[in-house]
């Protein structure tokens, strides 16, 4: 089994490229959905002892919306998409086609829109990845929590900590260029998925095992 701490520079770059492919497609999907320019950061590949993740990833007492999905299929993984609480009203206005700032509250409708956004971003991300790797990746329905960033991260970490002591996370920021509203997309492959991902990268990159 691939130990996340043993991931070498080649695979780190390859995983970063996977993040690029996935997040690029997700940004395009969002851009088409809201009719605005969406940019993205260079994906980061992070391998962190689970206990240290909140410190390293910036767990804070700031409130955020976290949309969580499980990924089934050949490469079991978790997806977490987070948005700062202060942006949620504007963001959902954007999604629902309201004038920005025309509503003040996070209605039930807006909560659904947030979950739907998680589904759309994840779907686009996974489609691109699955196509590139020639694997099946199927997202679950989304679950939404509005809570502190620390509590959101810790809850996801508990889910993966039954399986591993290190978290491998692929993190990409997605930014709407005009309002500067930004979200963070995390793909967290399970240990079993990591093996297959490494294999699929080798195949896709034409690397043959010696």
């Amino acid at each position: 089994m691939t130990d996340p701490t043993q991931i070498n520079a080649f695979y780190r770059d390859a995983l970063r490229e996977l993040g690029n492919i996935g997040a690029g497609n997700a940004a395009t999907a969002l851009s088409q959905l809201v009719g605005r320019t969406i940019s993205m950061s260079v994906p980061e590949v992070m391998v962190i002892p689970i206990e240290k993740v909140p410190e390293v990833v910036g767990g804070s007492e700031d409130v955020a919306a976290g949309i969580y999905l499980e990924v089934f299929g050949d490469l079991p993984s978790k997806i977490l998409v987070t948005f700062p609480h202060r942006n949620l009203v504007q963001l959902t206005d954007m999604l629902l086609g309201h004038t920005l700032g025309s509503t003040a509250m996070l209605s039930e409708m807006k909560m659904s829109a947030l979950k739907e956004l998680g589904t759309i971003l994840s779907g686009a991300y996974l489609n691109a990845l699955a196509k590139f790797l020639d694997k099946r990746m199927i997202p679950s329905v989304p679950a939404l929590a509005i809570d502190t960033m620390t509590a959101i991260l810790q809850t996801i970490l508990v889910e993966i900590s039954t399986d591993t002591q290190f978290a491998l996370m692929l993190r990409t920021e997605i930014i709407e260029t005009e309002t500067k509203i930004s979200g963070t997309f995390f793909l967290i492959p399970e240990t079993s998925a990591l093996d297959l991902m490494v294999e699929a990268i080798q195949k896709a990159a034409g690397v043959v095992d010696a």
């Binding site: 689970i50 909140p54 767990g59 969580y68 809570d147 620390t150 509590a151 959101i152 508990v158 039954t162």
Partner: protein, 167 residues
């Protein structure tokens, strides 16, 4: 000056006199506080998982991560300090189910959330040593942050959206 002692995920700390133990963002994790009313010594653990005995955890060296080993380790410490178990009072916080999937982890049938299992595992272990749970704020769907005061054994619990309560 009272010191604020941070208890990170999967760790545990001890405080005395006017010091305050703090831990942030308990989602499905459980904060376990143990307090001796005579010496005013308090200990708090930030527990992630119910059971250390599953095969893949054989090499884990971190006792505070699991309910069973966290309770054992904390009790050993009190015993070494000369404090008998019979004086200790326990308080429990956390064990929420933050991300409720329809049809899963909802607690409807069979599938019990990891938060609930954490709470149950800590309680079972405490019962083994006959330590009373004198305060509890567990379950629900919201994350919690805790301040635990060594001088009084008081816990202040804060959630992101519904404010503060005392235990």
């Amino acid at each position: 000056m009272p010191e604020r002692i941070k208890v990170g995920m999967a760790s545990w700390k001890v405080a005395r006199s006017r010091d305050i133990l703090v831990t942030f963002g308990l989602g499905s994790c459980v904060g376990l506080g143990l307090w001796d009313p005579e010496t005013h010594i308090a200990a708090m653990a930030h527990i992630m998982l119910p059971d250390s005995k599953q095969p893949r955890f054989r090499q884990e060296l971190n006792p505070a991560k699991f309910a069973d080993t966290a309770v054992k380790t904390m009790l050993d410490h009190f015993l070494q300090t000369g404090i008998p178990f019979s004086r200790l009072q326990a308080k429990l916080v956390g064990g929420a189910n933050m991300f409720a999937f329809p049809g899963r982890n909802g607690g409807t049938e069979g599938n019990i959330s990891i938060g609930q299992r954490n709470v149950q595992a800590v309680k079972d272990k405490l019962r083994e040593f006959s330590i009373p749970v004198v305060g509890e704020d567990t379950g629900g769907s919201q994350g919690r942050s805790v301040e635990y005061y060594a001088d009084s054994g008081l816990m202040k619990i804060r959630t992101a959206l519904t404010g503060e309560r005392e235990l």
